[in-house]
């Protein structure tokens, strides 16, 4: 099988990888680029733990052949995290205790970031619809919904007390 070189943008930098045909974006991120925030959950597109943003839109990286993202902009949790401190969505997840084991968290944070980009003030219904493809077996989801509402306030400049 002939390997090919694929170039794409990752966190604002151009990266080039040598891959076998149809290697998934998930595998390239984790195994070739060492970006292990993107999790390897079900490999079925069913759990959301591998969610990354491609040109700003959430996608399941386990279902995406790397060739399909050539020339496109990929954003992972590593790209989102500032050099110092945390992104407001990450801070909100900490403040609201929105994780326990943490396995779903990278996917949840990426999806939350995309949601707030589309809808800066989502209501619970919109949050529930957006999160429907991301499973969490620890929190019961309520703290995650609260974290998104909290982040929404923080990012719009109306820093609110954590929602209770």
């Amino acid at each position: 099988m002939a390997s090919t070189i694929v170039t794409f943008e990752l966190g604002g930098r151009e990266v080039e990888v040598l891959v076998r045909p149809m290697t998934t974006l998930q595998s390239v991120l984790r195994n070739q680029l060492g970006q292990t925030a993107t999790k390897d959950g079900c490999r079925q597109g069913g759990c959301g733990s591998c969610t990354v943003l491609v040109d700003g839109e959430p996608m399941a990286s386990c279902l995406l052949p790397i060739e399909d993202v050539a020339g496109r902009r990929v954003t992972t949790l590593e790209s989102l995290t500032p050099a110092e401190g945390l992104h407001p969505v990450q801070q909100a997840f900490v403040d609201e205790y929105a994780f326990q084991c943490g396995y779903c968290t990278p996917g949840m944070v990426m999806l939350s970031k995309a949601l707030l980009d589309h809808d800066p003030a989502p209501n619970d219904e919109a949050i529930g619809q957006a999160l429907a493809g991301n499973l969490c077996r620890c929190t019961g989801y309520r703290p995650i919904v609260d974290a998104i509402r909290h982040a929404s306030g923080a990012m719009s400049g109306h820093d609110t007390e954590p929602v209770r």
Binding site: R20, P21, M22, T24, Q44, T51, A132
Partner: protein, 283 residues
Amino acid sequence: MTVQAYLLPRSLPEALGQLAQHGLDVLVMAGGTVAMPLINDGISLPSVVMGLRLAGLDGVERANGRLRIGATTTLTQLLQQNAVPVLREAARNTASWSIRNMGTVGGNLFTPPPGGDVAVALLALDASVTLSSSRSARVVSLADFYTGFMTNELAPDELLAELWVPISNEPTAFLKYGRKHANTPAVVTVAARVTWDGPTVADARIALGAAGPHPIRARDAERLLVGTDLGTDAIAAASAAAARECEPFTDAIATEWYRRRMVGLFVGRALQQLAPGAATEDR
């Protein structure tokens, strides 16, 4: 990973040329939401895969009273059109956000039940599909497209290139019943539409999902409605007929017994939405 070659054609002619060359040896994939899980699990072991994501087949446009939907239009793109509101409703009730960003309208026609909810709406809308090969292109009604479980009219050298949906002001009812509110496989999906000749039903189309080997029309139920006023008795008779004629199955979501009863219930509810005097809701 056993895939020897991943073809990424940049146009329909290029895709058709590659298909003619590789024939049945190539697995055609659009959004990858059905094919990739099987490949990841080693259930599907194709040596050559053709990905259509870059082939320029996406896009939605009005053309001569119809909506033309390119085969690789994503479900998210389908949510953004306004010409046929029920297709938005169907897309909104299919899978999750990330999957809707990847999964395509054309691919939804190849999704085995209980998936394929958009296909159910398309069937009720009397959509047709263009099957293209390097030799020719033909248009086939979606009602004639399916031939069995995971089998269809597509010849080995053909691709489903686009879909055509008549645009009309008649409302179409769409109801999906699953075990969760969102991102859920269907217990049953029903799409229904009637056309009127004055106070009586001139024609009816009822499409069912998760109630057969592929999205099916409830023909007996449709026939019973023609000439009626879509009153309570007509709806009850059609619902019972649909429950009799459907061919549901048992899986992890629901039993055959339960699905058959839910077909009856949800066909009734869908028809009630279309009945005179029903709360008019733009669908």
